[in-house]
């Protein structure tokens, strides 16, 4: 199951990121440089685990920086 950037951006809104910030996110750029903070990041990880039934182990999670990274991770975890 491919995960789209649009779906992930909608999830950013779901965790409370302002709509204008979420919609403007460059999927290839680091999220921390695009207005996400220390609460948004864990909230996004927690929602991603729940929504896609994937397990972000601590080591893998540290390497995920952009929406593209997250999409690729979910894609490979879902096989």
């Amino acid at each position: 199951m491919a995960v789209t950037g649009v779906q992930l951006k909608a999830m950013l809104e779901e965790i409370g990121v302002k709509a204008e910030v979420a919609r403007a996110v460059d999927p290839a750029g680091p999220l921390l440089k695009q207005g996400l903070d220390s609460v948004d990041f864990p909230a996004f990880c927690a929602l991603l685990e729940e929504r896609y039934k994937v397990r972000l182990d601590d080591e893998a999670a540290l390497k995920l920086r952009s929406l593209d990274d997250f999409a690729a991770f979910v894609g490979s975890a879902k096989g």
Binding site: E14, G16, L32, K33, S38, V39, F41, L62, L64, R65
Partner: protein, 521 residues
């Protein structure tokens, strides 16, 4: 009998004699020498006295980390007044509570800060001094000579009725912060065991703490250590995000970096080895405290940066680190061993912690951590019940942390109460729940820990007034709305990262919510 000494005067005089023209602090493009710090601290004491502040008076400091901070802290201390550093992230009502609680005579803050707003409703706080990053207006007009006021240790020890040397505020489980008074001499407590034995600080070190000076960890690493060792501290006034921290390290080239797990996590996510602005070559050691450092984060930081992180635990009550890892023998995932000078005991629930005849739990079994050592606060400020619960007989202090010990190494298991440590800040579920209940859709709620990437975050467990709401898409929308609502009312670290909807919450037979059943740690 030892002569009473003014600790601020002692620190300043020693550096004035050994390294007057060396940088005491770096901040942005500016340098403050030890000579200038001594002069401006004396000026600050004169300014406070001119405004009617005297020995024993509480002087609340709500400032960004900047040159003004050590000047104000040491100036108040020279005068025998009681500096009370308070976080700059609070709301006006919180400041009003703290100012009234400690009956502060003076507030030192920036113009139009929320603290200044809070002070308007507190009649005791007659003096409000507005500061820029360098100090308050009119400071340079004050004389640089000041005869330090001597406070005897005995007077300082009588924390509840006498005048303490300084005081910090720590969040309470009811959401009301409690004052933690310390004797002046306690300011130097962390220098020997932690600074010397654990960190090996020397005069050549440059220390940079991402944790602010209003927290015990930040005050120890940005005030006690640089001044005790005649070293240099880096002060960063802004909000420390991962990119800003890398930039400050690249620019000021610290040798020791003090940070918290939440920020180490974000820094690793932002790290671009070899790229401009990510130069960590000056660091010889990193330290982590404030919340337990996850095993993987500890290992990955070392792997990616080549710099060891020592994890440890301390508290506002101890004004010291009492368990710590040591250089060269780091046990990732553990808080380490008892720091020299401290004793630690692990006791079962319900055991009388002050009774030394009560047995410890065996190795490998979780127990409540009690500590004993020099410089522990002897009482909370005007909170006799809380004091009785925490400051036990025979000098033991109940930390509220649950640990397992194996071969002298302690590993954190959680808390014995409902308090959460999030991003190194104490979070009382009560305060978050009060904010959530103000949302019109929320009937009942409880806040408990959710573990994400090895770190604890607040999770809101909510029962809706209209139980047909909160289904499917509506549920996602409502969850986001509740989180946004919380963000409007609470400091960011208190905001839930997730909302889970329930039809009811687990309760005791008497109707008390059992938050521990909602933890997913």
């Amino acid at each position: 009998m030892p002569q009473p000494e003014n600790v601020a005067a002692q620190l300043l005089a020693r550096n004035l004699a050994r390294c007057p023209d060396k940088a005491a602090y770096l901040c942005g493009d500016d340098t403050l020498t030890h000579r200038a710090l001594a002069a401006d601290s004396a000026r600050f004491a004169n300014l406070l006295r001119a405004r009617g502040v005297g020995p024993g008076a509480r002087v609340v400091l709500v400032l960004p980390d900047s040159f003004a901070y050590p000047k104000a802290f040491l100036g108040a201390m020279l005068l025998g007044a009681v500096p009370v550093p308070v976080s700059a992230m609070l709301a006006p009502a919180d400041y009003a509570f703290i100012l009234a609680d400690c009956a502060a005579t003076a507030l030192v803050t920036w113009e139009d800060s929320p603290a200044a707003e809070g002070a308007r409703g507190v009649p005791e706080t007659e003096v409000v001094l507005f500061c820029g990053l360098d100090g308050p207006w009119g400071l340079s007009a004050q004389p640089t000579e000041f005869e330090p006021v001597l406070i005897s240790d005995d007077a300082a020890a009588e924390a509840s009725d006498g005048a303490p040397g300084f005081m910090l505020y720590s969040s309470g489980s009811t959401g009301r912060p409690k004052g933690v008074p310390h004797a002046q001499a306690d300011l130097l407590g962390p220098a020997k065991p932690w600074g010397s034995d654990i960190l090996g600080v020397t005069t050549g070190d440059v220390l940079f703490s991402a944790s602010k000076m209003s927290f015990a960890y930040g005050l120890m690493s940005s005030l006690t250590l640089p001044l005790f060792f005649g070293a240099t501290g880096v002060l960063f006034p802004g909000k420390p995000g991962p990119y800003e921290l890398f930039e400050a390290i690249t620019r000021h080239r610290p040798s020791l970096f003090f940070c918290v797990p939440t920020l180490y996590n974000l820094m690793l996510r932002a790290f671009e080895p070899g790229a401009p602005g990510f130069d960590l070559s000056s660091l010889r050691l990193c330290y982590s405290a404030g919340e337990a450092l996850p095993l993987v984060l500890c290992q990955e930081w070392l792997r990616q940066t080549g710099v060891e992180i020592l994890d440890g635990i301390g508290s506002t009550e101890a004004f010291n680190l009492f368990l710590s890892n040591c250089r060269g023998r780091v046990r990732c995932g553990a808080s380490g061993e008892a720091v020299p000078g401290f004793e630690a005991r692990l006791v079962a629930d319900g055991a009388d912690g002050g009774d030394e005849a009560s047995p410890e739990v065996p190795d490998g079994t979780p127990g409540n951590l009690l500590i004993r050592g020099p410089g522990l606060a002897r009482a909370y400020w005007n909170r006799p019940e809380k004091t009785a619960e925490t400051m036990l007989a025979n000098g033991w202090l109940a930390t509220g942390d649950v640990y397992v010990r194996e071969h002298g190494v302690y590993t954190h298991q959680g808390r014995s109460d409902d308090m959460l440590k999030v991003g190194a800040h104490w979070v009382s579920p009560v305060q978050v729940e009060d904010a959530l209940r103000q949302h019109p859709a929320v009937a009942e709620c409880a806040v408990a820990a959710l573990r994400v990437e090895g770190l604890l975050r607040p999770c809101a467990h909510v029962v809706l007034k209209d139980t047909t709401q909160g289904l499917g898409q509506d549920q996602a929308k409502l969850g986001a709305e509740i989180i946004r609502h919380a963000r409007g009312l609470l400091p960011i670290y208190m905001c839930p990262v997730r909302v889970e909807f329930h039809t009811d919450l687990p309760k005791t037979p008497t109707g008390k919510i059992q938050r521990f059943r909602l933890r997913s740690a």
